[in-house]
């Protein structure tokens, strides 16, 4: 009896344990339909508070509620990053309560739009007589699929070239960023000599932490690309050249990858890096040396990034109308200035930089002005990184392998094949559907 009990108990416990474990991948495919629950007078805003923006989001919400009596906004912590917000939104699509407004990143919006889970905003914008021409064109057009827009820009960023001015001076370099990556290669030995053995010339985020985002600048600088429209072009000689350049920097000891270069740069043990404009506030505040910022090397080779805000497709018309009213308020010229000054993200309205408070802010913070001045030189990212499911992680993995010394041509050839296969199996049949 004793033996049976133990065996039975353990067997059942084990079976339940492994069964529970295997039930974690997904639970159903119930299509979302109807109005998605919720009240039409309460706008539920799902955000990850990019750039620690919760206080400023609350401030804007308070102003919105004061200006729109009868409407309330409920700010929901939907995750600690864009991916977690997307996961929560996916879960709600399978039958839970939908948000009215949801933060969608440059990488996550497309899959929702392609599967008709985000509402196209064009008709709603026309009906509400909202002038979209004031949105920065490059940022507004990032959410375009089949001539329809599925989100409006909110917490948008670009990478900047950050450098340690003191090290630059010690190396005898001009106080500016490199014109292109060939020039940087001529600077690197001087920086290395001036830096000493404890300082790293350049540190970039690794492949698990958006190296694939900033590396686009190097690829474009050498005339390559991740893709042309939907055709992967990793095996293009110019893309391979950029990969070889990255590997060469690492082999010569000029480049190191890390989870997050910001703390190392701020601590003064890294000479330069490419990081988001969203890091600007923290770096400037904490660094004990003169921080310089510059355009990314090359001309017109800066990728856009960050996130926008969208509306679920299956909400009622009334809720969509209220949601758009809130989005318009959240991203109007005045509030984009409030948001950008608190976080370091880009103003998403053209007219924002003409406001007196923004002019005064930029005068006081020349590094923030670098990001604004670079904005006209930005370029939408290549499809296989931002629109292909898992594109960023796939490219990041390949770049890690290249930095670790694997053959560039072989790695990129495999990446071409893998990306093409993902496009064929997951995207091709849905385009234009």
């Amino acid at each position: 009896m004793n033996e049976f009990s133990r065996r039975g108990f353990l067997g059942l416990a084990g079976a339940a344990g492994v069964a529970g474990l295997s039930a974690c991948a997904g639970t159903g495919t119930a299509p979302s339909s109807g109005a998605g629950g919720g009240s039409s007078n309460t706008i539920e805003f799902w955000s990850n508070h990019p750039g620690n923006s919760k206080p400023v989001e609350q401030q804007i919400i308070k102003a919105f509620e004061a200006a729109n009596s009868g409407l309330r906004v409920k700010l929901v912590d939907a995750g600690k990053n864009y991916e977690e917000v997307a996961q929560k939104f996916n879960a709600s699509l399978a039958g839970g309560q939908l948000p009215d407004v949801v933060v969608v990143s440059d990488v996550t919006w497309f899959n929702f739009a392609l599967n008709k889970q985000l509402a196209p905003l064009d008709d709603l914008l026309s009906a509400a007589k909202i002038d979209t021409s004031d949105y920065v064109d490059a940022l507004y057009n990032d959410y375009n699929l089949d001539e329809k827009h599925y989100a409006l820009p909110f917490s948008r960023s670009t990478p900047l070239f950050y450098y340690n001015k003191d090290l630059w001076k010690a190396a005898g370099l001009e106080d500016r960023g490199p014109k292109d990556w060939d020039e940087f290669l001529t600077w690197a030995p001087k920086l290395k000599a001036a830096a000493g053995s404890d300082t790293i010339v350049m540190e970039l985020p690794d492949g698990s932490n958006y190296l694939d985002w900033v590396f686009q600048n190097i690829v474009w600088g050498y005339g390559g690309a991740y893709s042309k429209e939907w055709t992967p072009t990793f095996s293009d000689p110019n893309t391979v050249k950029a990969g070889a350049y990255l590997q060469d920097l690492a082999k010569k000891g000029f480049l190191k990858l890390s989870k997050d270069p910001a703390p190392d740069f701020t601590a003064g043990i890294v000479g330069c890096s490419m990081m988001s404009t969203g890091s600007l506030g923290g770096v400037t505040k904490d660094a004990k040396f003169a921080v310089g910022t510059a355009f990314l090397p090359g001309d017109g080779n800066c990728p856009t990034g960050g996130a926008g805000v969208g509306i679920p497709a299956s909400l009622s018309d009334e809720r969509k109308k209220n949601a758009l009213k809130f989005i318009e308020f959240l991203t109007n010229a005045q509030n984009t200035v409030t948001f950008t000054q608190a976080t370091g993200y880009m103003p998403v309205r053209k007219s924002a930089v003409e406001l007196p408070e923004e002019k005064a802010f930029l005068e006081k913070n020349p590094n923030a002005k670098t990001a604004i001045d670079q904005l006209p030189k930005t370029r939408s990212q290549d499809n296989v990184r931002v629109l292909l499911p898992g594109g960023g992680a796939r490219i990041g993995k390949a770049l890690d392998q290249i930095v670790q010394g694997q053959d560039v041509g072989t790695v990129f050839k495999a990446l071409d094949a893998e990306s093409q296969q993902v496009f064929d199996s997951q995207i091709k049949s849905k385009l234009g559907a």
Partner: protein, 320 residues
């Protein structure tokens, strides 16, 4: 003639010589029905919860594993065995399975061995042992995400505690985040540290319930300490060891938070990715929930097989 003493006192007495039954006839069958009803009523809530939250999702997951479901799509098309064929044919499967095996074997083996060692030590009458017991157990109740964040400072290649200690003895610290082998070592050590309190406390409870007289008898017979440990103590701890081997195995295979916080499965994409991380990666990052369900189903089959083998092995050992 049957002696009245040979009849159990609670058996009804019939036949010659037995006194006539007094009162209503015994209600054995209705009593049994009531017992069954009571058992069913008591089991029902848990059974319903298991069916709704464990077995139904399990079956649903198996169904999804034969589809191409994109997690954002309301449609899932059947693809037959294509996902399974793909998993067995992919290059990264080998890496992910190897990572899972290394991580699981190391965490199960080391956390059980260290847990037993600490339990033996802290079972002694030592000053301050209650405080030390609490300190050893505490990490087990801290969330994996919090531990993952804290251990980033331990293993940071520039400012970490490990680097500092190694530098003091003239050893160059490896880059735990960029070298796959070291990254797997880092998450394994972190998880062992978190889980040690669990194996420790279970072993300690077992030690406190053991028969001390057997040990004393063996000592009087002249058995060495090692012989007493192997021949007297370990057989008594066998059920506990078996219980721990199953529960630690299952929890180790499910580790996600520490890996996600510390390495996001990297470096080089899958340097520390285990099967459960692959489920997440495929489902939520690559949007292939159908394929993610396939990996989860394969993991289920593997773990079920391992658990059955463990149960049989233990059963056989017990019989012998």
């Amino acid at each position: 003639m049957q002696s009245p003493e040979t009849v159990p006192p609670d058996e009804p007495r019939h036949g010659a010589g037995a006194p006539a039954p007094v009162g209503p006839p015994p209600r054995r069958s209705s009593g049994r029905a009531w017992e069954w009803t009571l058992a069913a009523l008591l089991l029902l809530p848990n059974l319903v919860l298991l069916i709704v939250f464990t077995y139904r999702p399990l079956l649903d997951n198996i169904r999804l594993s034969f589809t191409d479901w994109n997690i954002s799509s309301p449609i899932a098309n059947p693809v037959g065995l294509a996902n399974y064929i793909e998993w067995f044919g992919r290059d990264d499967t080998r890496v992910v399975v190897r990572n899972t095996v290394v991580f699981t074997v190391a965490t199960v083996g080391i956390s059980m061995a260290l847990g037993l060692g600490l339990a033996l030590l802290l079972d002694q009458r030592l000053r301050g042992r209650n405080l030390v017991r609490s300190v050893v157990f505490a990490p087990f109740v801290i969330s994996g995400a919090a531990i993952g964040i804290a251990f980033q400072f331990v293993f940071d290649p520039q400012f970490g505690l490990v680097r500092d200690l190694l530098t003091r003895v003239g050893v160059t610290s490896p880059d735990f985040y960029q070298q796959s082998g070291w990254a797997l070592f880092m998450v394994t050590v972190t998880y062992i540290w978190k889980n040690l309190g669990y194996t420790f406390v279970i072993y300690l409870a077992a030690l406190q319930g053991r028969r001390a007289d057997l040990d004393e008898a063996a000592e009087i017979d002249g058995a060495s300490a090692w012989a007493r440990f192997r021949r007297v103590l370990m057989p008594q701890l066998r059920p506990t060891t078996f219980f721990l081997s199953i529960t630690v195995l299952l929890s180790s295979v499910q580790v996600f938070d520490i890996i996600n916080v510390m390495t996001r499965g990297g470096p080089a994409g899958n340097g520390t990715a285990t099967l459960v991380y692959q489920v997440y990666q495929e489902t939520f990052v690559n949007q292939r929930a159908g394929y993610g369900a396939t990996v989860a189903t394969i993991m289920f089959v593997i773990l079920l097989a391992v658990t059955v083998v463990q149960v049989r092995f233990m059963d056989k050992g017990q019989r012998s």
